[in-house]
Subunit: 450 residues, 2 copies
């Protein structure tokens, strides 16, 4: 195993986690990473906060540079190198050096596909006009950042009210840019249920974001210079000299598909719990690969940094001769709009319905601290339990002042297959500056137990 | 059951939770509560913050008044009534009306003992001099508050470096009173291990608290008026015109013992999982009763509001004909000194050693947010796992900026008997304002897994 050459496609979280793990286990193994961009291991999630001006400088978002990987870990990272073909039969990949217009074949004994995911582009006129940006790679974040420096926007439209949309709306408000947000769904944050999303919408509107929900994007208009001038929906035209697209992402799996590697229905690579694809000696990890969903009990496509890091660690362990299984995900996620914290885990009502699971659900309002303690802030907690058993299926939290990370307690309880009643009797921490005597997640659970 | 008369001794968290639960289940049942103080259902944990001036007024600490219980819930609450004898054979209690010097017998079908706990008093000269206070009942908090209003202290000494001691040291610093803290242990916060306690001590010293650890209290000196003037240890005399005692508490169980009800080694009432004592139709709940410890797997004495509320709910359910078992405690607790958050759950090293459990432990330093995000604060996480199995035994957290409530994730994972490796692969929430991509509890777990 020590002699097996490892090639990794993609130098971000999953790929570099795996490569680093293999290096730790096998100090002398040959490890080559091809990354088509200029950066490795960067914090894509930090980009909205870079745009907002909260992060001092773009370099702060780079966890580890290609040079560091090369020098400190002797991992042969080659940036600006794009893999354009996988040849499983001859165990080699075809690589383009993007800076030198060179192409070559590289052999491998083991191949890890960590090609990530890309933003979905809308299929409407002028979608690639100047001033329209998606956020995915660090470079795409830099592009927005530099465009705004060069040409401070007069008014911006965010298309899509998911995580990226909400975080970018905050970032633009932080820079005092007038912001409108358009989504074809009737709510923001589609991964939460409508009752919870309504609180978010109200908060955003109070903060000056104009919301246009249930409206379908039809085209972009451009000015004489070719720059976007307005966003046209089926109901109105919104002036904008800056547009941020947050329409979701899809896995970068074309390369794998072309090589005959099995994909799941989402288009992401089908992997076993050890991160092996359908083809021997080819592995996958990160945003391009599926994960097992612990509640749905089926493969799912969830592209998040946390998951990518875990995928990478599992793949790296197994590539080094270990025997680790990735136990799966719950779709846990957290974000914020200004000081409103938004978190979810497990199944939403929508998801439970789609799966045909009979559930009960309750939403409660509580405080983050004892009612008499300064800074006690309102939060809402929604819980879903399986109707027949009382087993926790999912949770959603919206509120201020430390509301959001309480989702971790729910994620842990769901993983342990606890019932609402078991959650009520957990020995959670209480003191007046931190919680009411019954933590809000327990108050919610009390309405669903017994 | 509807006709059985319930008498409750003690009108705070456990007693009133149980009485309220019985009332909800049985609208017409006769329920009498005897409370020797003037208040019911108050937030004792809020008293340090009342003294600090952070809570506006003492009334804010009262969750529900005796009048409200009488009028809204038709619970016959009699304050200033002390039960002085339990007669199990004839199913009656002897009661003193403290305001009228009257004594009478009251019959019951079911009796709930919820007599709470009392501060330990030091057996040294002048321990009851003016200016020396313990904190337990709301009245005791008011006494300190009023004394400080009447006579602003020039310098205070806190004896005992546990929860009460640390919170009162904060409160006194908040009021700009010079504070010294004395403890006979070589560390503050004895429920945490010395390495974690050291960070707390350093922080407190930086905030101007003079610490005298490993010093034994010998006596108090008093001035001509009989008020305390100094605290004398085996190593020095410390000037003080205000002294706060935080020497721990012991269960109020003399009444039960005198009635032949079984106590545990701690002196608290021995109860089964349904909160029944050794005598038929006599129940116990709250600070006077033991709890089953989920990791130690034996009865333990832990007096906390969270536990008392749960005891009360279980007792009330079973007193109403339900069949609920209290699953037990982990010794989870949280406090703070100014913005330093301090939390623990499960076993400390000391406890694991005392139980003869072979364990491994690691302490890591991490950040509460992504390193590039404003406000990222340092925290330390210590974890203990069982050496043979990797199962989580306990955790301790010290740090700022939202560090503390992460203990709930550990408490939930310990309850579910997870291993460190299972904790590593939990799907916890990440976004730059809330956490690094690996939550600090997972970073700690990674050092103990695989």
């Amino acid at each position: 195993m020590q002699n097996r050459k490892l090639v990794v496609i993609g130098g971000d979280a999953a790929g570099m986690s795996a490569a680093s793990k293999v290096r730790r286990e096998h100090p002398d193994r040959s490890i080559v990473v091809f990354e088509r961009g200029r950066f490795t291991s960067y914090a894509a999630c930090g980009m909205p906060y870079l745009v907002a001006g909260m992060v001092e400088a773009p370099e702060k978002l780079i966890a580890r540079s290609p040079e560091t990987f090369r020098e400190k870990q002797r991992i042969d990272v080659r940036t600006r190198h794009e893999v354009v073909e996988i040849d499983p039969a001859r165990k080699r990949v075809r690589v383009q050096n993007l800076d030198a217009s060179l192409e070559f074949w590289e052999d491998w004994d083991d191949l890890l596909i960590a090609t990530g995911a890309s933003p979905i582009q809308p299929d409407v006129p002028n979608a690639s006009a100047d001033g329209i940006f998606s956020l995915s790679t660090l470079q795409s974040g830099l592009d927005v950042f530099e465009d705004m420096q060069r040409r401070p926007p007069r008014s911006a439209v965010v298309v899509g009210g998911g995580y990226v949309g909400i975080e970018m709306a905050e970032a633009l408000r932080e820079r005092d840019v007038p912001v409108s947000l358009v989504d074809m769904a009737p709510q923001v944050m589609n991964t939460l249920d409508p009752d919870m999303a309504e609180d978010i919408a109200t908060f955003m509107q109070d903060a000056g974001v104009r919301l246009f929900l249930g409206e379908r994007l039809q085209r972009f208009d451009v000015d004489a210079s070719g720059r976007v001038s307005s966003v046209v929906t089926d109901q109105r035209a919104l002036e904008a000299d800056l547009v941020i697209l947050g329409l979701g992402i899809r896995p970068n799996s074309a390369l794998a598909r072309a090589a005959g590697i099995q994909l799941g229905p989402s288009g992401a690579l089908r992997v076993d719990r050890g991160m092996r694809t359908s083809v021997a000696d080819i592995w996958a990890a990160g945003d391009c690969a599926e994960s097992f969903h612990r509640v749905k009990e089926e493969p799912t496509f969830i592209a998040l940094g946390t998951v990518a890091n875990k995928h990478g660690l599992v793949a790296g362990t197994n590539l080094s001769g270990g025997a680790l299984e990735f136990p799966g995900v719950l779709g846990t996620a957290i974000t914020r709009f200004q000081d409103l914290e938004i978190a979810r885990t497990g199944l939403s009502e929508k998801e439970a319905k789609a799966l045909g699971i009979a559930y009960r659900s309750r939403t409660i309002e509580a405080l983050t601290r004892s009612h008499y303690f300064p800074g006690a802030a309102k939060l809402k907690v929604k819980l879903l339990v399986e109707a027949a058993t009382g087993r926790l299926l999912g949770g959603q939290i919206v509120g201020r002042g430390g509301a959001g990370k309480r989702i971790d307690t729910l994620a842990t309880a769901i993983t342990a297959r606890m019932t609402a009643e078991q959650l009520v009797y957990l020995d959670l921490a209480y003191a007046p500056p931190f919680s009411p005597v019954w933590d809000p997640v327990q108050t919610a659970a009390r309405t669903l137990s017994g």
